[in-house]
């Protein structure tokens, strides 16, 4: 693995657990097992390094989401596929949702930058589809945006609020992952039950 890759992975790890302001360049260097000057040699500044890591993290998630949202599948199938693929993916990067949410809130300038990316999650087609299926009488009348929020919330929240959740319902890390595994079916059932006619 090249030095640049080592730095990138170390930065990903450290930024994810400490956030941008909490992360230390020295810690990233140590984690990568290289000299701190190399961080600047390859990435110029903390901001640039962070940007690279963040956009990459987001870029991993968004295309998957878009592919599902923009397919020709019927709504119920899309919901099932989305929940499944999102949870499977995030179980490999359990702190990604919290990382993205946190930095989107802390660096509002960032929102604008990534929204220009073609890889941004774009739910417009899905929103129209919901309206169509309501019109066709397949699902109950419902606000498309609320439904979209429901789907995101049910899938992403447990990961984003991971430590809080573990603390409040008092479960171990293993139990948490098991619960998330079960959740793949649970969410689809729950949402589809709620909206099907």
């Amino acid at each position: 693995m090249s030095t640049e890759e080592k730095i990138f992975e170390a930065a990903f790890k450290v930024f994810q657990s400490k956030g941008f302001t909490g992360a230390r360049m020295q810690e990233i260097a140590d984690e990568a097992g290289i000299n701190k000057a190399m961080l600047h040699y390859f990435f110029r500044s903390k901001e640039k390094l962070f940007e690279a890591v963040f956009l990459n993290a987001f870029g991993k998630l968004a295309p998957q989401v878009n592919e599902i949202f923009n397919s020709e599948d019927p709504l119920f199938e899309k919901i099932e596929k989305f929940v499944h693929s999102y949870i499977s993916f995030v179980m490999d990067y359990p702190f990604l949702p919290q990382f993205i949410i946190q930095e989107m809130n802390n660096n509002p300038e960032f929102v604008a930058k990534f929204l220009k990316d073609e890889k941004r999650p774009n739910p417009s087609k899905l929103l129209k589809q919901i309206e169509t299926e309501i019109g066709l009488g397949i699902i109950k009348p419902i606000s498309p945006k609320q439904l979209l929020l429901d789907i995101f919330a049910m899938t992403a929240f447990p990961f984003a609020a991971q430590n809080l959740v573990k603390g409040i319902i008092n479960i171990s890390n293993d139990e948490f992952f098991q619960l998330m595994e079960e959740r793949k079916i649970h969410i689809s059932e729950q949402i589809i039950n709620a909206i099907k006619k």
Copy 2:
């Protein structure tokens, strides 16, 4: 307003928008319009000041939640009351959910500390009630923990991921608040529809 209160409110504001590591003692002092030394005079250290603010923030939310969760109301009514009261409350402190989640994740030592508090959110009675109502045939068989997660997720997520949500579904701050107002009824309907027999 006393100097100590000024500091506390300023700290609340700054910690909430910048997080613990991002917050600067000088910025808090400026925000409060007082000398930085006063922060240490009244609160000893950044950690102590943060702790005071965080536990207070949490202490505002938890008792409300517990009162509803531990009442004698039937499940459907509890869900309605919780969603209503949580969203109403949080609309006054829109960054509270993100703040709590973020700091619970970034300072894991903190989790232990606040879980000892009697004011901690305690869902055990609600979890039992869900099982009981399943036994009584009022609602469909379902994992109580998953249902609890659903309720939290649907209510808290949009606030926690506020900037991301606004960006993705492309709405203004006003539209966001309107959506949250509508959400008070939407969530209860959605969940009750999903679980009622």
